[in-house]
């Protein structure tokens, strides 16, 4: 671990006794140690995948119960927000390597193609139908085609949240850093 290299020679000052010495998130020592919170990083490591899975559940259950693309996208987006708060922009950049506008564009394309697809079968735009497939072992699986629209919205909203984090989070941090250097 990079942060614990000089631990034996140079004991930590008393006021920094609670500074974490290990990397709990992906990208290691991503911000100044004094700003890190051990509790938050540990929690994030545990919660982040769980929240993402929960968002997928919300996405799929949306047609029959409370949920849907928008709320699922927001929940997934909140996971990234948590990641940003715990690990800072560097950690978020390490987790998400795609550009936010690309995510937004992909989501929009998926949603719009889903809206236009029924035309190929002679149905009105935005029509939905139920697909039923007999899967081996699992039995009969049903799929509402509106789920594709929800997937598009899901991706779109994640992209929007990532873009917000970029514009209002990382961007402001950068501005503050620049201002600090100027002063």
């Amino acid at each position: 671990m990079t942060t614990s290299r000089d631990e034996s020679h140079d004991p930590m000052p008393f006021e920094e006794w609670d500074r974490p010495r290990e990397a709990w998130l992906l990208s290691g020592d991503c911000r100044r140690p004094g700003q890190r919170s051990l509790l938050l990083e540990m929690t994030t490591r545990a919660v982040f995948p769980t929240v993402l899975v929960f968002s997928l559940y919300l996405l799929l259950v949306g047609h029959y119960g409370p949920g849907g693309g928008f709320s699922a996208g927001l929940v997934a987006g909140l996971a990234f927000v948590l990641r940003y708060i715990a690990g800072g922009s560097d950690d978020l950049g390490a987790v998400v390597r795609v550009r936010a506008p690309a995510v937004i564009g992909t989501g929009l394309v998926i949603a719009l193609l889903t809206a236009l697809a029924p035309v190929a079968w002679g149905a009105p735009v935005l029509s939905t139908t139920k697909l039923a497939v007999a899967l081996p072992l699992l039995g009969r699986a049903e799929l509402q085609t509106s789920v594709f629209l929800d997937v598009g919205v899901y991706v779109l909203i994640i992209g929007v949240v990532l873009d917000l984090l970029r514009a209002l989070g990382t961007g402001i941090e950068r501005d503050m850093r620049d201002a600090g250097e100027d002063a």
């Binding site: 690309a102 937004i104 564009g105 719009l112 035309v119 009105p124």
Partner: protein, 510 residues
């Protein structure tokens, strides 16, 4: 045919998505934007022809029947305005693309400009085509949100100030719109316009007036009706040239279309609407007089824009088939004229380096083409024969003269306001094109979006402006068929039986 109806909305959205994805490839963005808008223009033409021959075209999204689901409707009025608007957006896009090429070089792509431009076009299409009040709200939000981004991109201090005013006022009117929708839904239990047309009539008259006035205030703010106009001359002049042209051409007219649609469909009346007559007089005079004292070219045009909203209001206020038809024709020609004037203003600014009229001069000699490009839309706006503006004003005056004493007085104000407009534009002409030639002023702020004082304007920028001039000339040349078309559209609006039957089918008789 019903699929075609959704494409003017879905294609620009798809184009926006593609331009976001391809935000590194500038050429792709340009091609997608121009192709999408060209296709939409063709589709709008098809819709206009079909709607004129066979009556309103309706599609129900997702196959859900009309009062429950969302219906898109294209009748003569909406198809005509959609066609004109798309031609304007296409020309302005070409102009904007070439301005960006001239200023930043061929390789610069933008993650925001093209997607937001196309989103705005999608919102405009949806606003024209929607058959339900809430979708109209969504369309306005789509359009306005894109416009917020376009007006505040690459901000400097003055644009931030203008953007703040614009965003805040628009947001307020949107929230009022939502409030009005909630009240209308609470009173009637539906948001479908055709369904509402049947149900609003059964409400107590007081409640009906309140709902009608709320919608008047909402669209009055968005369409800049005096006394709700104050935000417009403050914000539009600060936008970059093409964006100002887009806003001036489209946004207020879409709001006026919404006003026209809701008032004629939901709150029908048999005689001229005195309140709206008064507002029309105020709007015409305040706008024209305000324009007279301006020294900033774009502010002057913005005030004239406000003034001419009053002309359309007058047509609506007469509230018979002829008046509404005149308003529709006026809106169609006004979209092209204002966009052209703002584009020309952009060209002038690029040449002179300033928007201040008292610092320009002698452009007639140094840029004769620019003088022609300015003169035609200026004469059109002032309503000189034989331009499109004359045809449209004549339709309004005829309607006003036939409707009664009040409207005859207001028709007099229409002539007065036209003369004031002419005077203001003659002032611009004398200041800008005559007099001694002056050296262009240097660009004060290099980091700004608008590069001025360089006189670098590419041929396509002139061509796009010239194309819009051609559209407004075409309106004058085809004045006969167009007047007949808008007369049929006006008859539809005043007696919306065909609209209701097309949307609701047999359920319309309820």
């Amino acid at each position: 045919m019903t699929t075609i109806l959704t494409l003017p909305v879905l294609l620009p959205m798809l184009g926006a998505a593609v331009t976001v994805l391809g935000s590194r490839w500038a050429t792709l963005q340009r091609v997608v934007g121009v192709v999408v808008l060209s296709v939409v223009a063709v589709l709008a033409g098809v819709l206009l022809v079909v709607a004129d021959e066979r009556g309103p075209i309706v599609t129900e999204l997702g196959g859900w029947p009309a009062p429950m689901g969302i219906a898109l409707v294209a009748d003569r009025l909406s198809a005509l305005l959609l066609l004109v608007s798309t031609l304007v957006t296409l020309a302005v896009l070409v102009y904007a693309i070439d301005q960006r090429i001239a200023d930043y070089g061929r390789g610069t792509a933008s993650t925001t400009f093209h997607p937001m431009y196309l989103m705005l076009c999608a919102g405009v299409s949806l606003a024209y085509l929607t058959g339900d009040l809430f979708t109209l709200f969504v369309a306005f939000e789509l359009m306005l949100t894109a416009s917020y981004v376009l007006i505040t991109r690459r901000t400097n201090a003055s644009r931030i100030r203008a953007g703040m005013t614009y965003v805040t006022v628009s947001l307020l009117s949107s929230l009022l719109f939502l409030t009005a929708i909630a009240l209308i839904y609470a009173a009637t239990g539906t948001v479908n316009l055709a369904d509402l047309a049947g149900r609003i009539g059964t409400l107590p008259s007081g409640l009906r007036s309140v709902l009608g006035l709320m919608l008047l205030v909402v669209f009055g703010i968005k369409a800049a009706i005096v006394p709700l106009h104050f935000w417009l001359p403050d914000s539009y002049p600060n936008a970059p040239g093409p964006v100002a042209a887009l806003f001036a051409g489209l946004l207020t007219k879409v709001s006026f279309y919404a006003l026209l649609r809701t008032q004629t469909l939901l709150f029908t009346r048999d005689e001229p609407w005195t309140l709206l007559l008064v507002l029309a007089v105020a709007t015409m005079l305040v706008g024209a007089l305000g324009g007279l004292v301006q020294n900033d070219l774009n502010r002057l045009l913005s005030f004239l824009l406000v003034s001419h909203i009053g002309f359309m209001l007058f047509g609506l206020a007469v509230f018979d088939a002829a008046g509404v038809a005149g308003a529709a024709l006026y809106a169609a020609h006004h979209i092209t004229v204002l966009a052209t004037l703002f584009l020309v203003s952009g060209l002038i600014t690029r040449r002179t380096g300033t928007v201040a009229l008292d610092r320009m001069g002698g452009l007639a000699r140094s840029a004769p083409w620019l003088a022609v490009l300015f003169a035609v839309p200026a004469l059109t706006l002032a309503g000189m024969p034989p331009t499109a503006g004359f045809v449209a004003k004549l339709a309004l005056l005829e309607a006003g003269a036939a409707a009664g004493v009040d409207t005859r007085i207001v028709a007099g104000v229409v002539i007065l306001a036209s003369l004031l407009t002419l005077y203001a534009l003659v002032r611009v002409w004398v200041r800008v094109f005559w007099g001694k030639r002056r050296a262009p002023l240097p660009d004060e702020d290099d980091a700004d979006e608008v590069v001025i004082g360089t006189a670098r304007s590419s041929v396509p920028m002139y061509a796009a402006t010239g194309g819009l001039v051609a559209v407004s000339l075409a309106i004058a040349v085809f004045a006969g068929p167009l007047t007949a078309l808008t007369a049929r559209a006006g008859a539809d609006l005043v007696d919306p039986v065909s609209y209701r039957t097309a949307v609701l089918g047999a359920r319309a008789s309820r």
